[in-house]
Symmetry: C2
Subunit: 419 residues, 2 copies
């Protein structure tokens, strides 16, 4: 099948999935989970072949690890599908009801989007996660994973479709783009009328390509140049713990901090604490030290690399932190407005006025007071799951769960009303 | 100023408007309304010049009427602004609050989009409506009206800005694109990072151009190929009233019906009633009769024009109705799925099963049971106002009021939590 044919089959299946009841969807999810476990050997074999090709192509170790599956990881994927079955069904909920003076009853009812397309990169487990979340929210999915994981993802999708067939449901509820060329991705981006929502998950290049080329509704996700601002009124010990956590607990993720802004009044005390914790102490403990890229005012206080202008506009995803001294909370807010990707930012302060100004003025999906930016996550926000983190303002912002994969329609019941 | 400079000025003003309180916004709206009335002579003079040019260019009478302003219409525009001041402020509302086991308090707070751009056509009153709704929802607007109304719209915007200045507020809260070339519209569509939401209001050509060319978040509005399905179990008198109202009460608007689908069991009785009411009776009353474009089964029952295939895919916006006989509610649903613009559709039936199947299966913004499609309107839906009717599923669907001009952000308050 061509990508176009896959999209047409997906569109044709959308009506049936949209009206499927919660129980049927949950049974389908459990069957998909079981089929996934049952297909373990096929999936591992396909994954070994992917890994061999990747090794031959010189893929770095960290990427190889993302691509690698084993029995535990497949069990984890199946468990993930079963957890999605446990989540409440967002579809059909009446969001609001009004009765008009003319007797019309207007219900705003939650409905699926229809066909949700996802473009993502190497981790094959995204394939089963995305399929499960789409199905639970009543959406037919069209998946386009990374080319390095093509064999693994194909084997996973085959298993999921076998599970659907076993429940007597169309296998076209879960679809995969048959090629991994750029043309295939482009076809998803431009399939007006066939794709109701496109979610790209990946690096800045992929997101930019979607913004530039997509003609279908699209949600920008993920890129996070997150800031921690340490105010004059901060508890400096708390600030240090938050910064350490936000920078070093998992530097490769989008909610990790990339920039620290420090109020000039506390910079002479705080910056030496920061340098000690993130460089000296880490090195002494055998952990990778954080490279500090310092503006001139910070460089006058602690040792580090002089920051180039690009350092305040880079998602390092690594043990690197850009540091700038600011005059006050307003300068911190202005810096964030100029350099942020509108993902997550935090202020550490004991001053309610500074906190209020920061949360009101910073235009990002998640704005924290006295907590780490690492909490920007569907699970941590109580959504139960996550399909991505939106950094745009249209439709959904921040972590996207099942509800964010839905739209609504108005159902109006009357008794012959005319206008 | 160039369009780019206007956009930059708008973006620079967005932060200040986003945090403006409800009272200040309402005072600004009242000042804008007063300034508009005060500038009546200037606006009427500019409008006379627009009208003269339009007449010289051979503009049709119906368009001339849309363009024409008088003292009453200006008073109506000012009244419209004052009514927006009376509406509740959507900004700042806490949509939901959760407290996590770790003590984090996560508020989902309604916030403005930022910069909202609108591209619209000839009616100059849209200029003041859009400016008022944007300001009330905390958004800076960038307006790009039709070129025929450029002088009138400029005079209106000048008056609104004078009102803002009188309140000590930046006039850049309300902006107008300085030229009406296609290049100007294109610059709005592609101003990534400067435009947070683009709303095109106008004909199918404008909407298509935005879908194809926009790189900024955009909402498709307006195009309505609306269907009325008369079921076997319909009260035929009710069906006739609803169809008459939906077709003839205001044929030029997007929620008017364009297609009637009739169950074959009632077609022999209903179609002659329809022909009598929409053609013979109207002609006898001196009203424009409705031209009926009939599929072969309908043509075997009543006189009319044979329908071409395009007639079921055309937004006539005129006294024309396409008519098709269908086997049952499922065929009606399938026809709508293939031909609708996902705006508004209605079923007339006394059968709860047919009504339930129709409302569950028809994938449109507004789905009616026993009522006219003409109710799809912000005012009729209790939103208090309307900036447009979305026919897409991302973000907002159906009539868009003040809330639909907002986004949200998460504000998370902690006491040093790390992950």
């Amino acid at each position: 099948m061509t990508t176009r044919e896959v999209l047409q089959a997906a569109k044709a299946a959308a009506g049936a999935l949209a009206v499927l009841g919660s129980e049927e969807k949950n049974r389908a999810l459990l069957a998909m989970a079981e089929a996934l476990t049952g297909a373990q050997e096929d999936i591992l074999q396909a994954n070994r072949e992917d890994l061999e090709k990747a090794a031959a192509n010189g893929m770095p170790d960290v990427m190889m690890d993302r691509l690698r599956l084993d029995a535990d990881r497949i069990a984890g994927m199946a468990r993930g599908i079963r957890e999605v079955a446990e989540l409440p069904d967002p579809v059909g909920a009446v969001i609001s009801r009004i009765e008009r003076p003319n007797g019309l009853v207007i219900d705003k009812v939650r409905v699926p989007m229809g066909v949700v397309a996802m473009i993502y990169e190497s981790r094959p487990n995204v394939t089963s996660d995305a399929a499960a979340l789409a199905l639970k929210s009543g959406n037919v999915c069209v998946l386009r994973g990374g080319k390095e994981a093509f064999g693994s993802s194909s084997a996973i999708v085959q298993a999921l479709r076998a599970g659907l067939r076993r429940e007597g449901l169309p296998e076209t509820f879960v679809n995969m783009v048959p090629d991994t060329s750029r043309a295939g991705a482009n076809e998803l981006m431009t399939a007006v009328g066939l794709v109701d929502l496109l979610i790209p998950r990946g690096g800045a290049g992929l997101i930019r390509a979607c913004v530039e080329q997509a003609r279908v509704p699209c949600i920008q996700t993920g890129t996070g140049i997150c800031h921690i601002y340490v105010d004059a009124a901060a508890d400096l010990g708390m600030a240090l713990n938050i910064l350490d956590n936000a920078k070093t607990s998992r530097p490769s993720v989008c909610n990790a901090a990339e920039v620290c802004l420090v109020h000039r009044q506390v910079a002479p005390v705080f910056l030496p604490m920061l340098a000690e914790r993130l460089t000296t102490a880490r090195a002494a403990a055998g952990k990778p030290p954080v490279e500090l890229r310092l503006d001139p005012a910070a460089a006058a206080i602690i040792p580090g690399t002089p920051a180039g202008e690009a350092d305040f506009d880079t998602e390092f995803l690594d043990y690197i932190l850009a540091v700038r001294v600011v005059a006050d909370v307003r300068e911190a807010i202005a810096h964030i407005a100029a350099h942020s990707t509108h993902h997550s930012e935090a202020i550490v302060t004991g001053d309610a006025g500074a906190a209020g100004l920061f949360t009101a003025s910073v235009d990002s999906a998640a704005v924290y007071v006295n907590a780490s930016t690492r909490f920007t996550d569907g699970g941590e926000f109580g959504l139960g799951c996550e399909i991505g983190i939106s950094t745009q303002k249209l439709h959904a912002r921040g972590p996207m769960g099942l509800e964010e994969l839905t739209s609504y329609k108005y159902v109006i019941r009357g008794s012959g009303q005319i206008r």
